[in-house]
Point group: C2
Chain length 315, copies 2
């Protein structure tokens, strides 16, 4: 499992950072998922090996433009590049209405089906290698966090339990091992009860804009990675609160309390510049978070990749 950041600036793009977009890539690179799609996301994708044909689904965290203005262009380009496979779009309902309006007024033509699922009503969703669920955040517009939990992890059959349950060796054992529930003599047997997991399923939580990290307390349980905005540093706490954003210390303190092993900060205000000797600097964000967080702290930057190995550690 891999995270590839395609945009890490808040509000407007800068020369070094595009507005928000994150790619979550499945193990074995079967499919990938896009979380948020700020303007220019398709341009960023051009500079990676990602293909719009293997895009499994898009998730939008909230309706602000720096998280969704890239949608019409990306969808149009997917069509022009020959995509015909349906595409799942999980987003607030207003996004569906906006895309409908764009299709009607600006003649956006899509040669593939768009399966829209509204964030407001998202069920626990099984998609590719992941089970996805949602948490509500606090921002100026309704904003959501999505968690991506591995559906299948390497596991061996619990032979003893199988024998006790009277499930005969053969095709039924094969199905259970493949992660398929079975019915035997009229009774259903969930596969998970007959597997011995070698590793815990990996879980990544990716958040939209949010001024209250503590809302994620339960949602972060068992997560390996929390990706959270850190638009500002503490000296801008008042502005952060007014704009519905978080600052570094606030997010990192939460991650410390919630015992999140890996914290990746992103969505930095353009005021935090790259390069040594600049003020304020992106290093200020890092130092502030580091001062209160003892886990594995990472600051995202455009095109930075984070590979999560099977044990739940960054490679």
């Amino acid at each position: 499992m891999e995270l590839l950041f395609l945009g890490t600036s808040s509000g407007t793009p800068t020369k070094d950072r595009n507005v928000t977009a994150i790619a979550l890539i499945e193990s074995q690179r079967k499919n990938w998922y896009l979380i948020d799609c700020g303007e220019g996301t398709q341009h960023q994708i051009l500079r990676t090996s990602l293909s719009l044909n293997s895009l499994g689904a898009i998730f939008i965290t909230h309706i602000h433009g720096d998280h969704c203005y890239g949608l019409p262009g990306l969808l149009a380009s997917a069509g022009m590049q020959g995509r015909t496979a349906p595409l799942t779009l999980v987003a607030p309902k207003a996004i569906r209405d906006w895309l409908s309006s764009t299709q009607a007024l600006i003649k956006l033509y899509l040669p593939f089906e768009l399966n829209f699922i509204s964030s407001e009503e998202l069920p626990i969703l099984d998609l590719g290698q992941f089970t996805i669920s949602l948490a509500k955040l606090s921002h100026r517009a309704p904003s959501y966090a999505y968690s991506f939990t591995e559906r299948k992890v390497e596991a061996s059959l619990n032979i003893e339990k199988l024998r006790v349950s009277g499930i005969p060796q053969g095709p039924l054992w094969g199905k259970l091992r493949a992660g398929i529930n079975i019915i035997h003599q009229g009774q259903e047997y969930p596969f998970a009860e007959f597997l011995l997991y070698e590793q815990k399923p990996r879980k990544i939580v990716i958040c939209g804009d949010n001024d209250s990290p503590e809302l994620l307390k339960d949602f972060c349980i068992d997560s390996n990675i929390l990706v959270h905005e850190s638009t500002y540093t503490e000296d801008m706490a008042e502005k952060a609160a007014k704009a519905g954003h978080s600052y570094a210390k606030q997010v990192a303190s939460f991650a410390e309390r919630a015992s999140v092993p890996i914290l990746i900060l992103t969505h930095f205000s353009p005021r935090y510049q790259l390069g040594t000797g600049t003020t304020p600097s992106i290093d200020d964000v890092h130092c502030e978070a580091q001062s209160v967080y003892s886990g594995n702290l990472q600051l995202a930057s455009d095109f930075k990749r984070f590979q999560l190995d099977k044990s739940g550690n960054l490679k």
Copy 2:
């Protein structure tokens, strides 16, 4: 007067070319005008010295996404960068409806007034250093060409004519020299009739997508520069016609017949690659146009500048 190309690809961006946007910069760099605004135009602007605060107006040639998807983001960024001065937007009506829908659904907030003028009803428009007029083109969607003609060129007063007309020396002469029509003894006197121009006013014609260059015959009279799409080469003539586009030979032949002194081709299909030894290559477009056009032929590329001097020649 200067043209700065911000995007020269048709349909989708490539690694080397963004989708369409052209900056027309006034003499003395007082203001600039944006013609079309494909996705990522604000990103391209970041790599120039242009400021969204000195943007005089935006002109959209037609509603296709590769010419307008950058609008919401660019307008939002202008606001975030502190723009408060009203901004004129000349575009097909559907663009106004789409922006209204975006403002309502995606909470696009603009701290400045947007003066919308619909292309369908564009009067002869005086704006900054230019008089702008419009011509209808032929494409899958209604598409327009805009001409930008210098309003004020260096000129001296025609003293003899002034005396014959009985206009007394004094403030009225000053107004005429400044390019202002006057009223004297109940009669209106247009300034242009009392000025002796040292140079002809410069004129640039910038076109939207178009499969019929000959529609521009009258519109191009006295133009120094014609900027026209050349999406394809002649071997793709059938596809070009089907998609409502032009090919190099077609445009260049027209420019030759119309005696346009400078022809700038742009809006190239992503199939025409940069670099030597590629097939098909952007050089194919150049060679094909050159074979039928004896004027000053230029191929646009992203960030390429064309300065037009007072005599109407490229610097």
